[in-house]
């Protein structure tokens, strides 16, 4: 088996077992999105207007939840040392771990999004657009997040620092993700314009994230 495939499968296996982070992210997402209508009240027009923003915010915070263990767990138990003695380039190792994180935290959340959308009065045709923006935008959240996860790896309680490092960098993704989702739900802006920018952000983060995170990890180990 290819070393990177082995790593991907291992990380996914750990995530879905007891104590893994996969369920926590999607549960958090569902809880936030479910509580919003209770907090806002039964104003359907308002819910429809803020619905995409709520779902995107919940998705951002949910993907952040499992991120702080992404490298920290491997650092603490010595696995990261051994990974460095492997023959797979560290950049690709980061990419494989990022992919595992996305598959285990973002994908369940994307699957849950249409059901949760009903609570926020987002109707089926608009739901498809919203789900599509999450599908395209959440990889950017993960791959911006890996940079913060790699920087905060040596800190015992790195979660908060991780949020402080990562959240400002995710603001553009949030802006264009919500803009595209709003365009799909309510208009009047064409869907294509913000969506193209969202695609750009994702592609850029897929390239920059692994290199930046790998550089940070090499420094962490020293």
């Amino acid at each position: 088996m290819n070393p990177l495939t082995a790593l991907l499968l291992r990380d996914m296996r750990i995530a879905v077992r007891v104590g893994g982070g996969a369920l926590i992210g999607v549960l958090f997402f569902v809880v936030v999105a479910t509580l919003t209508p209770f907090a806002v009240g039964p104003d359907l027009a308002l819910l429809k207007r803020i619905g995409p923003a709520i779902l995107w915010l919940a998705a951002l915070l949910a993907s952040l939840l499992a991120l702080d263990r992404l490298f920290a767990a491997d650092y603490e138990d010595g696995s990261l040392d051994l990974i460095l003695t492997g023959r797979a380039p560290l950049e690709l190792v980061v990419a494989a771990k990022g992919l595992a994180h996305w598959l285990t935290t973002a994908v369940p959340l994307i699957v849950a999004a249409p059901v949760i959308g009903l609570l926020l009065d987002i109707e089926p045709p608009a739901q498809a657009g919203l789900v599509f923006t999450l599908l395209v935008g959440t990889p950017a959240l993960t791959f911006i997040g890996v940079i913060g996860a790699a920087i905060a790896v040596t800190l015992r309680r790195g979660g908060l620092l991780l949020a402080i490092i990562v959240l400002p960098l995710t603001v553009p993704v949030l802006i264009f993700g919500v803009a595209a989702a709003n365009a799909a739900v309510a208009g009047p802006v064409p869907f294509g314009t913000p969506f193209t920018v969202l695609c750009t952000l994702t592609l850029a983060s897929l390239v920059v994230g692994p290199f930046a995170a790998a550089a940070a990890l090499r420094l962490d180990i020293e």
Binding site: M1, N2, P3, T5, A6, L7, R10, R13, I14, R17, V18, G19, G20, E76, D77, G78, S79, D81, L82, I83, L84, T85, G86, R87, A88, I221, E222
Partner: protein, 217 residues
Amino acid sequence: MRLSAVDLTCRRGGREVFAGIGFRVAAGQALAVTGRNGAGKSSLLRIVGGFIRPAGGRLWLEGGGSELSIAEQAHYLGHQDAVKPSLSVAENLRFWAAFFGGGTSKIGDALESVGLGAIAALPAAYLSAGQRRRLSIARLLAVKRPIWLLDEPASTLDAGARDRLTGFMQSHLAEGGLIVAATHGELGLSAAQELSLDPPVHASLAQAHQAAEASSP
């Protein structure tokens, strides 16, 4: 294959841990690194493993794979066992075997030889410290790499497991591997060279101190 170092200096947190360390280990030989706590045994191993850069000196390998770094040809057995509690014993070992590019065919044999064959399906969360260490050692057996860097390999092992470890090291050396091990006790290898990281000046000071104490009434 020969691993050599000249004049290695290690600085951690602004403090010089050791300086001017040199050694030469050829295929089939073992080097036992000794020294008091904090003398830099682990740091020396981590320098050889490429995890930290030496502040000075040179380290090189002759006769290995020319495209590979020393770390990529080495097994590092550190204080931490790199065992994931939610995976089973066999899953842990299978992952490392696949990650290091070895076949997964030798996993059963490796687990048998460290005495974990009967609990291969058990989640690793239930292992004792000694059993986790044995699982780490199984990694060295499941994937062949010529250089073994062992940091206190016997620290949590019982007497029987220690003897087995000595056996593994002897057969590794007999197959032309080389071993660098940090240790407080005996490795059980008759032919091991010893490299002491204790600075000689400390030893002579201690002797002078003892002599002064002995002579005073």
